[in-house]
Every structure is written in C-alpha cells, then in structure tokens.
Symmetry: C2
Subunit: 190 residues, 2 copies
DNA sequence: CCTCAATGTATCCGCTGGAAACAATGTTGT
DNA sequence: ACAACATTGTTTCCAGCGGATACATTGAGG
C-alpha cells in the first residue's frame, strides 16, 4: 500500500531548507536547483516559492544556517584556559568546519546576495563574536598588549578564513593544515 | 555604410575570453552566459564551443588570466628595500587587486573547476611565487629567524586572501582595510 | 582547381527560474 | 453547522540556458 500523502506537507519550509543544505554540502551552491529539490521532497516546483521568493533567498537561508552552526562551534572552542590554547582550539574548530563543509563555506562567503542579505551579514557577525571576545578577554587579562583587540581579532579571523580558502581551492594540501595552523597561532600569541 | 562582417571572426577565442572577463568583472561568474557572450560578439552561441568545450572551461580560462595579472602585480610590489616595506607593498597590491576585482577573485578561489583545472592551480602557484621568494630572501638576508619561510609565506598569503574575502563579502568595511593591512604586516615583520 | 580541415550556423533537446491562474485544504466568525 | 477567507500546493505557461549534432561557408595546401 502506498503511504498516504496529504495535500499539505506540514513542514515544507524546513524540508526545503534541509534538502538545500544537503545539496550545497554534497554538490555546491551552483548545482542547487529549486525544481530538483521540490521533486526530491515530492512537491511541485512552485510550492517552495511560498517560503522562499527565489533561488537566491534560499541560498541566503542556507548560508545563515551555516553561520549559526559555525558560531556554535567557535563558541564551544573558545573556552580553553590560556591565550594560545584558545587560539589553537578556535583555529582548529574553524578549519575542521571549513574542510568538512567546503561548499557551504564558499556559499557563506560569497559576494552575491539577494535582497534581505543583511540577515547573512548579521549572522556572520554573530558567528565571529566568540573570536572578538576571545581577544578582548585576553587583553583584559593582560595576556596581550593593550589596544587593538578588535583589529587583532579581525586579522586572526582573516588568517583562518584565508587558510580555509587556500585548502579548499587546492593550493594548500590537507596534510599541511596542522602545522600552518600552528604557525598562524604563533603569529597571534605574543 | 555598415562595416562588413566576414564569416570568420579571426580572433574569436580572444574575443570570447575578453568578453567573459568583462562579464565576470561586472556581474560575477554566476551571471556568465555563453549565449549572451556570443550574441554580444555577434556570433552564434555554438561558435565559442570551438575554443572552449563548455562553460566551466571558459571560467577556468578567465581565472587563469586573473592569476596571471595578480602575479604581475605582486611581483612588481615585492621589490621594496626592507622586509616590512616589502610586506606592506605586497599586501597593499593584493588588496587593491582584490577590491577592484572582487568577482574575479571569487572565481579564482572557487572550489569548482572543470577537467583541466590543474592549469588554474599552476597559474595560482606562479602568481604566489613572489610572496614565497620574498620570505626566502628576507630569511637569507637574516631579517627573519631561520627556517619556515615557506610556512610563513603561506600563512601571510592566507591572511591577505582572508582579508580580501572579508572585505568583499561585507564583513569588513573598506575604510578599515588600511589599518588591518598594517596589523597584518606587523604580525609577519618580527 | 580540387580536396580537406577549420570555423561559424541552424536546429533540436531537456533543464532551469520565474510568473500567473487555479484547486484543495485549514481556520475563523457567526 | 456553515459560510467566508487565508493558506498552501498544483497546473500551465514563458524565456533563457548549456549542450549536442548536422550542416554551410571559408581558407589553405597539393
């Protein structure tokens, strides 16, 4: 007997978002097709439009979800005892995420965004907050020269994101990540 | 009198490549359409296929051209006298390029590549060679602690590329780039 | 001149994002 | 209980895309 499928899905928005995330993870944002996602869920290609006004908006939502998950990981990692330990843990968490979710990271840092793309920017700032707080705390504890915690945190973040990008586009081999992370941490530990 | 258009274009490959570069620069790689490019040049949409077997191959060619231009700029900038000066000049050149060619940079560092994508990787390595040489030279001149010039240069490059990414995706405002570059250079000057 | 390779054209395919009119289903007020 | 309304999914259309193939035009070499 065929399972009965009601006219209303009940949770289409989340189903579409989940499927979109899966497609991005497995094949990248460029391969994402609204029609394919709808077909996978078992719904007409016009149905998802009730929740996402277009392709770009769906991609933005996937990016926001990505930043939320990244932020959670960074926050968990920023609780080590000493300054270099915190940097190391955060850097490791960042690159673990970046390598495991290469396609998602590319989407998250994509230049292009739809109307309402501010949501992506604010979710990005939230995700990066733990890094800023880490430097501010270390500064307050006297583990760092006074002043410029914001600047330092941004440059540190840039280093992590840059490493992630170089790894994911093939310039840096995976087996060198660990020693490069060590070098990066050393640059921000004095 | 209407200019006579011969059956054979004479330089179609270059014309397609130039137009593709212009589209990427102005609207981003995602907006690039083979048909539109062909129409702009005044040729059938199937004609460019004689030179680029598909869309991805054309994008790869645009990326290679981008790395070539970036490499030229970096090489020119790496001729300053002292180590911090060289870092500063290279960093400035990198971010100038990144900001002016945001869409192109995104394509250059894109995860996805077609068959024959090794050409992109090798052109990237060539472009980055000046940065590696810069650190090796500084090390040889005793301006840097011995060992790890390769690691240092990769992490420095990552910092630059990361800053570029953060600026281009809107996380870092343009008017903070200069002071962030200073901070980054300071991290690699001891 | 004739042949042949190179280059551009014409035409077809399936797929995509998007828009609009329509149908089925819940919900709410009386 | 029932009518009016809002929500949600369907159907049907469109133009554009990348790609493939068969064909026409051109130029180069024997």
């Amino acid at each position: 007997m065929t399972s009965y499928r009601p006219y209303h899905h009940g949770n289409l928005r989340q189903a579409v978002l989940d499927e979109a995330s899966a497609v991005v993870r497995d094949r990248g944002a460029a391969e994402l097709s609204l029609r394919e996602i709808a077909a996978t869920i078992g719904v007409t290609h016009a149905a998802p439009r009730r929740y996402f006004s277009g392709r770009q908006e769906l991609l933005d939502a996937v990016a926001v979800e990505g930043f939320t998950r990244l932020g959670t990981r960074l926050r968990k990692a920023s609780g080590e005892r000493d300054h270099p330990g915190r940097l190391r843990a955060v850097a490791q968490a960042y690159l673990d995420f970046a390598v495991a979710e290469a396609n998602l990271l590319e989407l998250m840092f994509a230049h292009k965004r739809g109307p309402g793309g501010e949501a992506v920017s604010t979710s990005a700032e939230s995700a990066f907050a733990p890094i800023l707080q880490l430097f501010q705390r270390s500064e307050a504890e006297g583990l760092l020269p006074d002043g410029g915690a914001v600047r330092l945190s941004v440059v540190f973040l840039a280093t992590l994101q840059g490493l992630a990008g170089l790894v994911n586009c093939g310039v840096v081999p995976l087996d060198q990540v660990s020693e490069l992370v060590d070098e990066a941490v050393a640059r921000f530990s004095d």
